[in-house]
């Protein structure tokens, strides 16, 4: 089992570029949330050259739509959502300085190439382990698009969130390398 490495965000570009597909990290620091509807808004604002609700440069995006926060808690269940649905938006966000994305599931070849081109990384959280991930969130602040409900943008401060580096800045892709290693002839 690869050793869990501590990793802080926002990270400098060199640290992100040094991540290797198959690394297991404990991420601490700031991440911003956005999923389908928020991406549409972000793209509209980028095209209109309007300021975004949060900076992209060297930042980390988390594909999540948390369940509502019960009284006395910081956040509801908050596991990752499928990355593939955001494939159409990802290259533009990476071109604008975004460095890491947390999601689940494989990405298109175009997006893998974009991670390489922009020296960025795709980190995988465990889909469905959402109550566990909520325990890693120490602060949650609503930043934008409250009308989108579960799709609103939040700024989260997280501590020791366990993540697997799936696609690295060299374009290595654990979604291909992993299954290849374990596949058997039918």
């Amino acid at each position: 089992m690869p050793k869990l490495k501590a990793f802080r965000t926002p990270a400098c570009p060199e640290e992100v570029a040094a991540l290797v597909s198959g690394d297991l990290i404990h991420l601490s620091g700031v991440v911003y949330t956005a999923r389908d509807a928020a991406h549409l808004r972000l793209m509209e604002q980028l095209e209109a050259e309007q300021p975004l609700p949060f900076p992209l440069l060297n930042q980390t995006l988390f594909y999540v739509g948390p369940s509502p926060t019960p009284p006395g808690k910081i956040i509801g269940a908050c596991g990752p959502t499928t990355g593939r649905r955001m494939d159409v938006y990802t290259p533009s966000l990476l071109a604008n300085g975004l460095k890491m994305i947390i999601g689940k599931g494989p990405r298109s070849p175009e997006v893998v190439a974009a991670f390489r081109r922009y020296q960025a990384a795709y980190l995988v959280a465990i889909g469905g382990a959402a109550a566990l991930m909520a325990q890693c969130v120490k602060k949650a602040q609503l930043l934008a698009y409250p009308e989108l409900g579960p799709e609103a943008v939040y700024r989260l401060e997280v501590e020791k969130m366990p993540l697997i580096v799936a696609i690295d800045a060299q374009g290595r892709n654990l979604f291909e390398l992993g299954p290849e290693e374990y596949a058997e002839e039918g």
Partner: protein, 279 residues
Amino acid sequence: MRELNVDQVTAAVAQLSIEACRYLGEDVRALLEQARAEEKSAFGCFILEQILKNLEVAAKEQLPICQDTGMTVVFLEVGQDLHLTGGDLTMAVNEGVRRGYQEGYLRKSVLTPLSRINTNDNTPAVIHTKIVPGDRLKITVAPKGAGSENMSRVKMLQPADGIAGVKQFVLETVTAAGGCACPPLIVGVGIGGTMEKAALLAKEALLRPAGSSHSDPAVANLEKELRVLINKTGLGPQGLGGKVTALAVHIQTYPTHIAALPVAVNLQCHVARHRSLLL
């Protein structure tokens, strides 16, 4: 004739929605434990351990197991000798969903399909009703997340495609879904009937006790064989490589037309939720 006030239906649906989202059945948990013992990949084992730990945290913290608390699929088996009183059954079910999702702090994920406007209370539910003998009402609430639902497919095969065609389609569906459907999966397969019947059979297959075998030995063999084939893909937990991609394959069949062979594959992630109550 036995009477049942639909207020009881509302209360039951609310309770079942919350319970289904917080507590996984022991059958699924047992399969996850078994998967952890069988898995060879280090990442796969790590993922399965985290998935099992998550179940404990969800119960302890009274949080949903997964933030995607789904579109609420409700199965009603209504006894033909039962008289429902006090209002509209569909409205009563939807009121139960509204209440359960509000009171249980469950995510409201339902919206109008084209204008994408959230209904803000997770209604309407998808309701499947069957009239059955007797005077009872069985309610099953099965919240279905979009991660695995999005990767599900229906295909109208040709009779000449036969069992080999069925196997190929199931394998193609699981492979195309990859890590998106959150494996390890329970794979529901509906074979026969018409297009919509096959889809419903596949969904109903997911309600069977996880890991149970079909009563027809030929179908049970096909289930076993498909599970082995799926696990040979090497996709593994979360699609990152490993031995356990399917926890179970459940097949339901129904007679079909001489010219037809409809097959539906309804993928279910490891958060295989459903709760039932008999009123």
